[in-house]
Amino acid sequence: MKVDELVVLMADDDEDDRMLAGRAWKKCRFTNDLVFVHDGEELMEYLHREGKYAEEGKAPRPGMILLDLNMPRKDGREALREIKADPKLRKIPIVVLTTSKAEEDILRTYDLGVNSFITKPITFDSLVTTLETLGNYWFRIVKLPIEE
């Protein structure tokens, strides 16, 4: 699998935010797809290829996960802990993208092994810039451990 084909997986329960991120990602003109899951539970199903993601090719391994912290059913902190405890999944870079600015959230998620913590940008333009920076960094500057 090539870097250009890696998908970005975004876990966010907020429809508006998913839409804004989708628009912003399109503006960045990366070849990579941005796919969405709605909460931590669905994120884990995707990553383990269970339930509706069991079908072959339905859930390509993401090159980066954008993770919201406050979500129903299973929140971002729990999902983060599970992913970082799983030897098969813990190499995937995870970027927390949340409304929280709370210091305890920042400390806790870095403690759990998150790769970056970003507070959701307020303007649309800064959202575009943020996603552009993230895409450039994780898919062009750094070397990712690509499996499969």
């Binding site: 804004l20 628009r23 303007t123």
Partner: protein, 370 residues
Amino acid sequence: MQTTSLISAVLILFGALTLGVAAAQTGKILALISGTPHEQSWGRLRILMFLFLLGYLGALGVVFTASEEALSLLMGAVFLGGAAFVMLVVRLGHTTMSELSAAAVTEKKRRHDLQRTLGTLEHTNEALTKSNAELEQFAYVASHDLQEPLRKIKAFGDLLGQEFGEELGEDGQMYVERMRKAAGRMSTLIDDLLAFSRVTRKGEEFVDLDLQKIADNVIDDLQTRLEETEGAVEMDPLPTLPVRKTQMRQLIQNLISNGLKFQRKDVPPVVKITVENIEDPDLGPMCQFTFQDNGIGFDPKHAERIFGIFQRLHGRSEYEGTGVGLSICQKIVIGHGGRIHAEGTPGEGARFIFTLPRERVALPGSDDES
């Protein structure tokens, strides 16, 4: 002289001695109860004892003169006197005892009442702390959740302007711009509210800190502002005090930037910081800081108002800000066990004076333990 008379004389003599010592002892009791209603009764008892002592000495004389009749007469008198004496002592004892036990009952009741008052007070304090914490939690959650839809208003406003700018026309774009600016202002308000509610939410340890270092740091951060305005900060050497670090930094920063912000037109702002040790009648040994500026000042009638949350004395276009800075300062100073007040003269400058305890104090309701 007969042997019996001799023994009798010796016995009486010992009796007289004992009585003399006992009568002398009543002096001690009298000293204890001086000024109370018992003083008189005990005084009478004392006189009676000395009279009795005289009777003993008389009896001794009678024994030596060996007058049988006088002796039996005296014996009768001594028996009667002895009984009356015991009666007197018992009555006195009874009054004293009943008073003592009444006092004990009152004392017990007083203690009980005190205990109950203490209990109520403790309960009230607990309820107050809880409701305070709830209020802060509420402010935190509310401002956090309020920020969310606001962000959407701004982001979709951006999108609307970018994607449909031409269709909107000039007026349309202006409306969108105004909408976005208003949302931005509200966002700042909420951020400041959040910062205000966090002052007590985030309980920090008290550590002995060199305030000079903190102030130097703050001035470093404000360097650009100082250069732009050609302003200056002059200060006494600051002491080392037990404080919460981030809060103290915020306090000093708010007060200095406040002094720089409310600059008079064409007058370079100067903030002077002076320190002195004072003795607060209620709070003990304190360090008093004065931040004096040469800015626009304010009408003294607003001296208390300016510490209220979201209170502003000027229009947004004149001086930016949400009116939270000084409320945060007040919260920080009170949280440190000190006091803060402001003095102002319009057109001459403002002065912010606050005190901090020189020694570590136990603060009621501090969230150190949480």
